[in-house]
């Protein structure tokens, strides 16, 4: 009688159950140690053996039935939750929450990349003043007054012997004088100024100067350093060509061309059909420059590299007008 009632009640409960948490409490309610079925079994001691056996069997059957219901409910609930998840949908093509990003200037990005490559080669970063003495900017670099080489660099003057530096090369002299010991490996990134303005010339631009002074530094080391720099900066496939040139503070001096990355040397508009693109100047430090900097050219030699950061950035990012770098238009800066 009691069992029958229990069975009906339990059956109803399990049919109605909607949450997994309820299921566990129902299991405890009926099958737990203090559950209702246990209670009934506890009372069986008072029954006749015949009766006891019968009730025992019925109770066991009920226990099995409840276990089945639990299992069924579990499955039903799982299925329901599965179906619910399957119906849940967000539009993943909608935009994410807006996070505004800025950017480093493309010239900075280019310079940092170059400085990092040089840093891996042991070149450490130095700085020097942008307003320079004639002495550091010209005289010490083997460019005396009235030298035709001064014409290569139209100069802004602050005072008769004071200029806006036309190149980062004066930092070579400063670094050599300041350290007064070798080996010396430094790189300098900074602004330089020339009295010139059009689509390919800016009155202010940026250079990176590289200087290595040591025993037995040779032109081979210069070529090796340049080749590595160009390959890392542009492409593994890039080739480097050095042409004799003239800078007063290096001897021998060279202009450096890299194979055109657009046509791979076959000739195209970018390289004016030559297959080569001029990217920088370099050379072995002139003995008289070493002497000015109190380094004995009989004991030590060095190489120097000077590169225009704008030139390299224009090539890398296909920028055709140098003025874009200083307009600071976010439609331009936002692309980097």
């Amino acid at each position: 009688m009691q069992l029958k009632q229990l069975k009906e009640e339990a059956q109803a409960c399990f049919t109605e159950v909607t949450k997994a948490e309820q299921l566990e409490s129902l299991r405890l309610k009926y099958l737990g140690k203090k559950g209702q079925l246990s209670e009934i079994l506890k009372q069986m001691g008072a029954l006749e053996p015949e009766e006891r056996k019968k009730v025992g069997q019925e109770a066991n059957a009920l226990k099995q039935e409840i276990e089945t219901w639990i299992e069924e409910s579990k499955n039903r609930l799982q299925e329901a939750s599965q179906n619910k998840i399957l119906k849940e949908r967000i539009d993943v093509t909608l935009p994410g929450n807006k996070l505004t990003l800025g950017a480093l200037h493309p010239l900075t990005q280019t310079a940092y990349e170059i400085l990092d490559i040089l840093g891996d080669l042991g070149f450490e970063s130095v700085r020097g003043p942008e307003i320079e003495h004639d002495f550091y900017n010209f005289e010490a670099l083997n460019i005396p007054a009235e030298h035709p080489a001064r014409e290569m660099q139209d100069t802004f003057y602050m005072a008769p012997e004071v200029v806006l530096r036309t190149q980062t090369s004066p930092v070579q002299i400063r670094a050599m004088l300041a350290l007064q010991e070798v080996p010396l490996r430094v790189a300098c990134f900074g602004k330089v100024y020339r009295h010139d303005q059009d689509a390919t010339h800016s009155p202010m631009f940026h250079q990176i100067e590289v200087l290595s002074v040591d025993q037995n530094v040779s032109f081979s080391d210069l070529k090796g350093t340049l080749t590595l720099l160009v390959k890392k900066l542009f492409s593994e496939k890039a080739r480097v060509r050095l042409r004799p040139s003239f800078f007063p503070f290096t001897e021998p001096s060279a202009e450096v061309d890299m194979s055109c990355f657009s046509c791979d040397g076959a000739g195209c508009r970018l390289c004016k059909n030559t297959g080569w693109i001029e990217i920088l100047g370099c050379g072995m430090v002139h003995p008289s420059v070493l002497r000015v900097a109190k380094i004995d050219p009989e004991k030590h030699s060095g190489f120097a590299i000077g590169m225009g950061v704008e030139r390299i950035a224009m090539l890398r990012y296909a920028v055709s007008d140098i003025r874009l770098f200083y307009e600071n238009d976010l439609r331009f800066l936002g692309q980097f």
């Binding site: 970063s125 003043p129 002495f135 806006l164 040779s218 060509r241 021998p252």
Partner: protein, 695 residues
């Protein structure tokens, strides 16, 4: 400079080389060919010749170079001339008054010439390389210049003044204010630094630059005085630069012509004039050369060549042969392991061993030099201060990640625009590109403001930009004579003319003060720093006085933050900041010392305070931080709400703070803090007039 391939081929045997191949040889030898163009049946190369190579400013020079690149040699025959009649000495007297400016002066006289157009071959030669033919005599002097690099000048002999039947030519410095109308028809006012050729009465040519109109060869000219000289480069350069007058002649003289090529050139021209314009060459040339310039003798060590170049040591015999093709002869042994060379005077660029090493490397070809790379370890024991670079990169990266774009502006600009940002007496350029680029910046803000305006014109919403760069704050007291003995790497530039300071400044359009303050606080937190923002104490007139702050690290003011002054009108919607990186640097990158993690639970106490709206919230925080009875257990105190409005009487504000307390030794009990908190409340009341709100 333009070079005719036909003329080159007549000087050096190059049967198998195409114009392109010739151009490539020259380019890789250091004479860069910029373009190759056809002219009738000829091909013309346009060369960019570096200023150290005056010898390459002629067809003969290029032919010699090309021959050397092709392992062959050129020989130029001396011109042969037929002299007739009386000696030039009977007619012309030469007086060299300025031997330093003019180490050599020579002339010849040709009488009875017939001026007329040049023959076709000569006109064509000149036209092909971009020179307009004038008349046969002038064309010949021009051609000899382009052939051998020696500028020549022809005077109409009959226009030169004579006394006692003789022409007296003087080479002298100009008198002050002396006037000369040059061939281009312009009157030039001269100074004593200019060198002139003169007769008894007047200047007749601006030496080495341009002839005088008064003695110009014309259609009626019959007799010619031909000049060939070597002028000192510096003087010619000075004059040409001062007058803004660059001619084919001055271009070569100021780079250095061959003092020993003067006579062959004048003879070559005289012979051509005789051949083309007729006339008789008077016997003898006048040639004043008081101190002949001898070829330099320079020793080169093959071992040094190997060391500098990275090439194997060359065979001396091979080296001698190759040098000979450049006209550099061997003159003996130069001591152990060295060869002595005699450098011809047409190569003024070769003055020491390293110059010969360069020639050897050029001849070998830079492409033949092996490549070597060393990976060096950082020179960490050197006292290189890299913290500024690190700080620069850190700040740039941070700002870029929080929505700021990096700008780069010119370091010079308009003094008027600078004035708006408090610039006083900026350093100025002597030769600016224009008034609007004449002053050196003292602040980065004027540039940024221009950038913001530019972007707004492009309809860009709320542009945010920053710049990191040097500003120039007046002259240094230290003076500007470089003192090389005291320079150290840490103060590279300490001897510089101007006081240069590295700043970082930012400008955000329509930004709230607190938005930018939050960014700066986060920036400083990323540097493990906590700046204190105090009401503006610097006199910065471009900032809103009530909406600006100075940033302090300990007692150092490292920058400012604030809204632009309302007087900026529309632009006052910009919030700006500036940081001094040199000052900031010394506070950064200290290694963190870890605190052990808390073992015991803490207690949080929130207090809502009602106080006068004029009391800065910072004062509340400072009071709590400095409250003695709690310092040992105070972990943090922060403001989590500020409220004014409904329920708060006007002139008052409600500030809610939360105080976080923890004892590192034991569990903190409510009882232990009860008394101190009560005392704190009283202090807040007495010192700041704060009333506790109990809702």
């Amino acid at each position: 400079m333009h070079i005719s391939i036909q003329t080159l081929r007549s000087m050096v045997d190059l049967p198998n080389l195409s114009p392109q191949e010739i151009a490539d040889k020259l380019t890789l030898g250091g004479l860069e060919v910029e373009s190759i163009q056809s002219f009738e049946d000829d091909t013309i190369l346009e060369l960019k010749v570096t200023p150290n190579r005056p010898d390459a400013l002629s067809h003969m020079g290029i032919a010699r170079e090309l021959a050397a690149m092709c392992h062959t040699r050129v020989t130029f025959l001396a011109p042969s001339i037929k002299e007739l009649g009386a000696s030039i000495h009977d007619l012309v007297q030469l007086n060299l008054l300025s031997k330093e400016a003019c180490p050599r002066y020579a002339c010849r006289v040709i009488e009875g010439v017939k001026i007329g157009p040049s023959p076709e071959w000569l006109s064509k030669k000149l036209l092909s390389i971009g020179i307009k033919p004038i008349n046969n005599v002038v064309d010949i002097t021009n051609w000899v210049l382009l052939e051998r690099g020696q500028p020549l000048h022809a005077f109409d002999l009959d226009t030169l003044s004579k006394s006692k039947g003789r022409v007296a030519i003087k080479v002298r410095q100009a008198q002050p204010e002396e006037k000369l109308v040059t061939l281009d028809g312009k009157e030039r006012i001269l100074t004593p630094t200019d060198l002139v050729i003169a007769d008894e009465e007047k200047a007749v040519a601006l030496a080495g630059v341009m002839g005088g109109k008064n003695t110009e060869v014309s259609e009626t000219t019959q007799n010619i005085l031909l000049e060939s000289a070597y002028f000192e480069p510096k003087g010619i350069r000075k004059t040409a630069k001062r007058l803004g007058l660059s001619t084919d002649a001055s271009y070569r003289f100021e780079r250095g012509t061959d003092p020993n090529g003067v006579i062959t050139a004048i003879d070559r021209a005289a012979a051509l004039i005789q051949e083309i314009a007729g006339g008789r060459i008077r016997r003898d040339a006048l040639d004043i050369y008081p101190n002949p310039i001898e070829p330099l003798e320079i020793s080169m060590r093959t071992q040094k060549l190997a060391q500098i170049s990275g090439l194997p040591e060359p065979e001396p015999a091979e080296l001698r042969t190759r040098f000979l093709s450049l006209g550099i002869e061997t003159s003996g042994r130069g001591g152990h392991d060295a060869i002595k060379f005699r450098v011809p005077t047409f190569r003024p660029d070769i003055t020491e061993e390293i110059d010969l090493i360069e020639e050897a490397m050029r001849l070998a070809g830079f492409d033949q030099i092996p490549t070597r790379i060393h990976f060096h370890k950082a020179l960490s024991d050197k006292n290189l201060d890299l913290s500024l670079d690190k700080l620069e990169r850190h700040i740039k990266t941070f700002l870029s990640h929080v929505g700021f774009f990096e700008a780069i502006n010119y370091a010079f600009g308009s003094p008027r625009e600078f004035e708006a940002f408090g610039s006083t007496e900026p350093l100025t350029l002597e030769n600016p590109l224009g008034e609007e680029y004449s002053a050196m910046r003292q602040s980065l803000l004027p540039g940024l403001l221009n950038n913001i305006r530019h972007n707004l014109r492009q309809q860009i919403q709320k542009p945010c930009l920053y710049e990191m760069g040097v500003v120039f704050l007046g002259k240094n007291k230290a003076g500007h004579k470089p003192d090389m003995s005291t320079l150290s790497i840490s103060d590279m530039g300490a001897d510089s003319y101007a006081h240069e300071k590295l700043l970082c400044a930012g400008m955000a359009h329509q930004s709230d003060f607190f938005a930018l303050k939050g960014i700066l606080e986060a920036l400083f937190a990323s540097l493990k720093l906590t700046p204190e923002f105090k009401p503006l104490s610097q006199d910065l007139k471009f900032l809103h006085p009530g909406k600006s702050a100075n940033l302090f690290l300990e007692d150092t003011c490292v920058g400012f933050l604030g809204m632009l002054h309302p007087s900026f009108g529309q632009d006052a919607q910009n919030c700006v900041f500036e940081l001094d990186l040199d000052l900031l640097k010394s506070h950064c990158f200290k290694t963190v010392q870890v605190k052990s993690l808390p073992k015991f639970p803490g207690i949080q106490r929130d207090l809502a305070l009602l106080l006068d709206e004029s009391v800065p919230a910072g004062d509340i925080l400072n009071l709590v931080r400095n409250f003695q009875a709690l310092t040992s257990v105070l972990e943090d105190v922060r403001i989590f709400d500020v409220y004014q409005g409904k329920g708060i009487e006007p002139g008052k504000k409600s500030v809610a703070i939360s105080i976080h307390l923890r004892d590192s030794e034991k569990t903190l009990t409510e009882e232990a803090i009860q008394v101190p908190i009560e005392v704190l409340k009283q202090e807040l009341a007495t010192k700041l007039g704060a009333v506790l709100r109990t809702n």
